[in-house]
Amino acid sequence: MLLELSSEQELLRETTARFLDANAQVAELRRLRDDPRGFASDYWRRGAELGWTSLLVSEDDGGVSSSSSGLVELTLVAYEFGRHAAPGPLVSTNVVAGALSAAGAHKELIAGLLNGTSIGTWCVSEAPPNDGLGNMVFDIAVHDDELVLNGVKRPVESANEASHLLVTGRTAEGLTQVIIPAATKGVSLIPMRGVDLTKRFSVVRFDDVRVPAACLVGRVGEAADDVERQLQHALVVLNAEALGAMQRAFDMTVEWAFDRYSFGRPLASYQALKHRFAHMATWLQASHAIGDEAARAVAERRPEAALLVSAAKAYIGEYGAELLQECVQLHGGIGVTFEHDLHLFLRRLTLARVLHGTPDAHRRRLADLVARKEVAS
């Protein structure tokens, strides 16, 4: 997280933290384990009132993002989400809200997303082997004034709760996006199982889904830049959430190392463990560093944003998950029980590692970006 927060930023973080302390307690998370929705709509609405969904939306659309700082502030909310392993489709709703606001259309829907009465989610990822970055095959056909969607998207966050779906696919011309009501004829969901206690995902099938051209977000075949922008937003928020979970698990484990005695000494006095904590502390600081730099670069639309955000996702996905596993190891048996809280954060990291591109996929993307620069120069 940022080393220094402005007072407004600190206020936003603090408000979210207090809200989640009260409404996302571990007992509640365990209870939600078997809840098909994963969160209460009231919880989400009240969170939205705190501004959770307003930070990528322009002021004209009723959001707060006058400047480029909206995304950076959103990372503070996401960070607290991670520290609490909190429920709710923070990534997808913000990506959708940001995309619609940028496209300057669908204002009434934006209003719903802002006050939390509507939930929007992004249908972008596809099943293996098309789960790499950018190997999308989803088909969108243009028939004069209609668009026809065919294909399968997975995993789609909170699709079961979403009123609207932002769908990314290919037309002959290139990448194209539409925003459609989840209830549209031809759309069907299969709920998925997963590692997280409260995050819900679905497989979303589109069989000859016909929607009017008014559903377009941006122009037919010209969505590539928007999609890249949305991906960068998703990655920044995901990374910040992962960072919160990493920090929380690390703090818990340091405490444990001081409290727990073995052979008459605290675990924290064993050099083999001390050195492992030193490495974990390094992974953690490095993750904070690259996460924040990527967020700033994306917020300011700097040319190196793509490089930085993929470096951040690749690093945090890899070392964040390893850090959590080290925390488990240092806790011993208790660390793999359902009773202990550690797994709440391990689950969040395990999920964050995979969503919107595995570390592997982002390392390859980095190589592509390097290659393009080399060819250019």
Binding site: P129, G194, V195, S262, A272, V336, T350, T358
Partner: protein, 421 residues
Amino acid sequence: MNVEVESLESFRERASAFIRANLRPVTKRTVSSALRANHRDEEELAEVAREREVQRMLFDAGLAGICVPCPYGGQGLTPAHQRVLNAEMRGYEYPTRAQVPTFTPCLAVLLEFGTEEQRRRHVPAILKGEELWMQFLSEPSCGSDVAGALTSAVRDGNEWVLNGSKVWTTGAWWSDWALCLARTDWDVSKHSGLTVFMFPIKSPGIEVQRVEMLNGSKEFCQEYLSDLRVPDSQRIGEVNKGWTVGSRWMFHERMGQNSSLVTMPEGTIRAGGAGATMHAIARAAGKLSDPRACELIGEAQMLQLVGEALRRRVGQGIATRTMSDQSSAIARLFLGLAETRRATIAFELAGSAGATWIDSDGELAEWGIDFLMRQAMCIGGGTTEMAANVISERVLGMPRELTPDRDLPFREVPRSRSKPG
């Protein structure tokens, strides 16, 4: 006494004949995954029943307790015979649950420290599959430091009264007897006040609770002993000499699958078929032509083959005394790291299905759960950290870690930041 030992050849024929005639071939299955939740209690109990049955069949066929002396119902044969049996049983069912902890460390401890009467009573029962044993060793308070046990045993005439709690007993809920380490003197140093007892698990005064793991599995248990009364005749070894027993007990535990008391059909260690499993995942993910995926498949296959070779080498080295007894810690450390790596490889190959999946994903499903449980492989049965201590201190002979609790009266030993002694 100098009786004629059965030749390996005739033994092989005898074993092979029995096995092919009586045991069921195991149907090819994927790698036994890390404690998956999808195992229902009824299934578990049915498997336990079958394994008792198989153990009885082996006993009747003169194939149980190959290295156990005849007076106790064993065959009085050699580790070489055990290896022959392991080879012949390749691909057939066997009593998995009877091996660890029943045959080692429990049976091993009984043979080494039990009284003649204790041995004659329990060893045959174990060999017949009538008694499945558990070790009541770890406690919630003292993780790897088992000699720091807080469970107390107070003498009361011819009986002992036990109070405390034990944990990490696999399947105590379907087991029969327990070997238990308890503290009988709090005013002497940690290792000098321990005593070992045995008792039936289904006794009044023992409450067995299932521990739910983060993946929902409930195969581990925690036991609460409240005023459990144990006759002195069920004490193993001398009073307050429990650590003499305990240190050998832990050695036998580390021996695990390397022990010649254990029947372990070749090719059935956990790592079995890693390469094939990873291949199946990659195929389901449509990644067989991706060199990166091939690399991961190859790595998993490599770790399996190396792990099997290492286990054999360490077993042979200990058997022939060319390696220190403590070297089994080397195999343990390798296995722990190889298994966590394998869980990670499977998770990576599953791609986006690693975190979220549907049942129809088949080979792609569930690997995220194994990833969550990954470290269990480096914790269960003695942590990899303890193994690293053993290797550096007892195999390489490097200076021991400082143990401030060694010479203090146990009640004064610092136990936590809040109770620093």
